[in-house]
Symmetry: C2
Subunit: 141 residues, 2 copies
């Protein structure tokens, strides 16, 4: 509620704008939460390569349970990021594809992924230092 809404800052905020910003802010939190959850972006990135059937996704995404895949897909579909198509063949086949919205989301997410990859080493180093520092207090006993 404090800072992130400044992203779309028209800067002069009348009373009504406050409400609007609050909504925007909640939405931003929503999106960050979805991006941050364990499987959503893995699914999006997989679908970015090509459309997939349910079990293709399950096989392609290492370690995901069918439960979580199902839930993740439903959430993504609800948000309009993923399109679901049921092919009425003999054994039912359901095809999942990224929507335009989903494809557009992939861009900033990839930027974040790239940042993570480039800064991985720095972060791991920082953690190592931080974690070993607690010792100092008693290690020189």
């Amino acid at each position: 509620m404090t800072t992130l809404e400044r992203i779309d800052a028209p800067e002069q905020a009348p009373a009504a704008e406050v409400v609007h910003s609050a909504r925007s802010c909640r939405m931003v939190g929503d999106i960050l939460a979805r991006v941050g959850d364990k499987w959503s972006m893995l699914v999006v990135m997989t679908l970015l390569e090509d459309n997939r059937h349910f079990n293709e996704l399950k096989r392609g995404i290492d370690g995901i349970s069918q439960q979580m895949l199902s839930r993740t897909l439903r959430a993504l579909e609800r948000d309009g990021l993923v399109l679901r198509t049921v092919h009425a063949s003999v054994p039912v086949r359901v095809e999942y594809a990224l929507s335009g919205l989903g494809r557009s989301l992939a861009e900033p997410v990839k930027a974040l992924g790239a940042w993570a990859v480039t800064n991985r080493v720095s972060i791991e180093a920082s953690r190592a230092v931080y974690d070993s520092r607690g010792d100092e207090v008693w290690s020189r006993a």
Copy 2:
């Protein structure tokens, strides 16, 4: 493990590369998780404006408990995203500031925030449609 590591894809992966990719992938997940948690990016964005003391942050970030602020700050500090400086004044004052790393993270995060703001309406519309569709099954009773 499947797709996100392709971001840094040197594409020809010998046995050793697989390990490397797995580490990268875990790290990307880590970062996405941190970005996705409830308060981290709010803190980062607040510190992007200016350095703050603990209670300034607490007051500035609406709804955060001091517990969560404390935990979030320690996590950010551990990752080297936030710098902590203790001023040994009479009542102790601790100043928090973004590191260069933290500032660099803010960029892709802002991109994501911008995406969320621009696509907020589409997503809400999609959710409304999705949520009302469950009705159809029984609403025409």
